[in-house]
């Protein structure tokens, strides 16, 4: 078995596919990773995204490779072999799978190395990484199994369409309904974000086991004496796969669990000049300077107003409910390329009365313009970008005026206009000398 496996490893069609999958996967994983920070949760999430992206291609390639004997007209060798049918295809299957695993390892290594260069934080959740591996292996196996079962080139589009159909169902928003219907375990599945999502991984395990059984049974289907039990086994295994998919989709794609507060690691950033302390999760260390600089400037601007603050704490979600009307919470978006700027915009939602649903909008003869100017000034934007605001001379002038103020004047201006900042009530005269 070892020698045929090595021969298949050397000649598997996947030796051509694997580098393409690795390159595509690494690129997609890279683009889907947090751009500025690095954490294991980002790598795991990216690996899952990559796995979902690759599944149609892997299934199609699995079917293509599974049809090799038919394509090359060497099926006579298997049909007259002295070993059981599933065993005779095992070296080719394992050879292909080995290349898929190699591609998966390459993708993971690229993402880990990239993260290490940025500064990798957190601890890996092995089950999440294994889940992405199980996904790629399952769909490759499904491709092989379909090739064994159908034994016709149509196995390739059928294998490719299967994961695409799952995407389609998800995109159409019907996946949940379908999952509820096909999930025979639905009575026992409940979503509790605070618990490890064992059911999700149970579903993935069912898909993997089912695919392997279908593959083995499909290899027997040519033998007339074994055809009926093989078909019966495949039907049962197919039902297991469907149930597994149902469990997975029924969990709404939630692969991770919410870590308990005690499990989270935080770092505290200090600014000596303003005395400001910022408490954020450890994986934001790569943007610590940016956060400190941005918020020190704002702390200094508000230091003489009744919105003065010397402490900020990261809010673990983006929910503004119950927030004090002031600077206290830090909303951080790991997906953002401008994390500090995003955090300012988030904090201003707490401060400004006009920015949340159900509140009154900006008021005064320069209401909305004033809000835009304040957001741009506090986030450090010197330009307003392309759009209506950059063509409004009143807005441009107001922003220029604020940036022209020295520190003491800026603090005094903020102190004098704290009420306007809170109420979003602005007149053009507020920004004039």
């Amino acid at each position: 078995m070892k020698r045929p496996f090595l021969i298949e490893l050397r000649h598997s069609g996947f030796r051509y596919w694997a580098p393409i999958f690795a390159l595509a996967g690494a690129t997609i994983g890279w683009l889907n990773s947090f751009p500025r920070i690095a954490a294991w949760v980002s790598i795991e999430s990216s690996m899952l995204d990559v796995a979902y992206f690759l599944t149609p291609f892997l299934a199609g390639a699995g079917a293509w490779e599974g049809l090799r004997d038919e394509r090359r007209r060497v099926e006579y060798a298997r049909r007259t072999s002295a070993i059981p049918a599933p065993l005779s295809v095992l070296p080719r299957y394992l050879g292909g799978i080995a290349w898929v695993v190699a591609a998966w390892i390459c993708i993971a290594l690229v993402l880990v190395l990239r993260s290490m260069l940025i500064g990798l934080y957190g601890v890996p959740e092995p089950i999440l990484l294994l889940h992405s591996l199980a996904l790629v292996l399952s769909f490759t196996t499904i491709g092989f199994a379909l090739a064994e079962t159908i034994q016709h080139w149509s196995a390739i589009p059928v294998a490719t369409v299967l994961p695409l159909a799952l995407y389609g169902a998800t995109l159409a928003g019907r996946a949940g309904d379908v999952a509820t219907w096909i999930n025979i375990f639905r009575k026992y599945v409940a979503i509790d974000a605070s618990l490890p999502n064992a059911m999700f991984f149970g579903g993935a395990a069912l898909v993997s086991v089912g695919a392997a059984v279908v593959f083995a049974a499909a290899s027997f289907i040519r033998r007339r004496a074994y055809r009926s039990p093989a078909i019966l086994t495949m039907i049962v295994a197919g039902a297991v796969i469907v149930s597994g998919l149902g469990v997975m989709i029924g969990q709404q794609g939630r692969t991770s669990r919410e870590p308990a507060p005690a499990e989270l690691a935080f770092i505290t950033l200090n600014d000596a000049d303003t005395g400001l302390t910022i408490r954020v999760r450890e994986h934001y260390a790569p943007v610590a300077d940016e956060l400190t600089d941005t918020w020190s400037r704002i702390a200094d601007l508000f230091s003489e107003s009744d919105l003065a603050f010397d402490k900020l704490e990261q809010q673990l979600d983006s929910d503004h409910q119950g927030a004090p009307q002031g600077f206290a919470r830090l909303y951080l978006n790991p997906q953002s390329t401008e994390i500090a700027r995003f955090s300012v915009e988030g904090a201003l939602v707490d401060v400004m009365n006009c920015t949340q649903a159900g509140q009154d909008g900006p008021a005064g003869d320069f209401g909305l313009g004033g809000v835009v100017v304040m957001q741009a000034w506090l986030t450090g934007d010197t330009a307003l970008g392309v759009g209506a605001w950059s063509n409004d001379p009143r807005v441009v002038d107001a922003l220029d005026r604020l940036y022209s103020l020295d520190n003491a004047s800026a603090r005094a201006w903020v102190q004098a206009h704290t009420a306007n900042i809170r109420s979003c009530e602005w007149d053009a005269s507020d920004f004039q000398p």
Partner: protein, 265 residues
């Protein structure tokens, strides 16, 4: 006849063997009775006469619909276990055999040996013997895709004999070989048939005359003659078309069979 391959059983024995393809009006093999023992057994007939179907049935790739077929003492169809046991003793090479172009000759034979359950320790010796038999030892590291047509067929034959089968079935083995290669191949075949049953199908009468110990002439799925080459020569009709006595005997047998069939129809 037993369940497992017997050392003393004939290569293949059939009584009233009938094989039909789906949607086909007539049987591909129709009520054929035969006996193939050690030596070269030649299946002769035109294209579509049923030679390949009969060979496929002997190597268990084709289902038997009626009659009896026993290969090395194993009645077919057999259980999967018995069939696998039988396949350890049977070698086969189809007329147009495929191959993986990237495989070297050595890898091709290693794989074939594994499929035939040649013990790991014995494989090097078995493969070396098979390579020597077809004179490909010097090319064992050459990729199949780079071999000439004749060398490729020799590699195919090596894969069919690498496990030292007791029954070797070769479908049109000399097709595509040049005259020199055919002569050499006949010698190879004679050597192989010394201690085993070799069944070849051919529509080349010259090959049959040169190497066959036993001939089965097929026409329209039926066996119209079974016997030795001298016995077949006795059927010669000088008025029939053909360049050699054996060719004239063949055409006479075929024409007689067709006349009989038409008369009965």
């Amino acid at each position: 006849m037993g369940r497992s391959p017997s050392e003393h059983a004939s290569g293949a024995v059939a009584h009233g063997l009938t094989i039909r393809y789906r949607r086909a009006a007539t049987a591909a093999v129709d009520d054929v009775t035969l006996r193939f023992d050690n030596g070269v057994n030649a299946l002769v007939g035109r294209n579509g006469a049923g030679k390949t179907t009969l060979l496929n049935a002997i190597v268990t790739m084709q289902r038997v619909h009626a009659g009896q077929l026993s290969v090395l003492g194993v009645n077919l169809p057999a259980t999967e276990r018995d069939r696998l046991q039988l396949m350890r003793q049977v070698g086969f090479l189809p007329q147009q055999f495929g191959y993986i172009p990237g495989f070297t000759v050595q890898e091709f034979l290693e794989y074939a040996a594994w499929l035939k359950r040649v013990p790991t320790t014995a494989r090097p010796e078995f493969i070396a013997d098979a390579l020597a038999l077809v004179d490909l030892t010097a090319h064992r590291r050459t990729k199949l895709g780079r071999l000439s047509g004749g060398m490729l067929r020799r590699a195919g034959i090596a894969s069919a004999v690498v496990h030292r089968p007791r029954l070797l079935a070769l479908d049109e083995p000399t097709a595509g070989l040049d005259p020199e290669q055919r002569i050499r191949f006949r010698d190879t075949l004679r050597g192989l048939a010394a201690d085993r049953c070799v069944v070849i199908s051919s529509h080349l009468i010259e090959d049959v005359k040169a190497i066959a110990d036993h001939v089965l002439v097929m026409e329209g799925g039926r066996a119209v003659f079974a016997g030795s080459v001298p016995e077949m020569l006795a059927e010669e009709d000088p008025k029939m078309p053909g360049d050699t006595p054996l060719e004239r005997a063949y055409t006479a047998l075929v024409q007689r069979a067709n006349q009989t069939r038409q008369a009965s129809a």
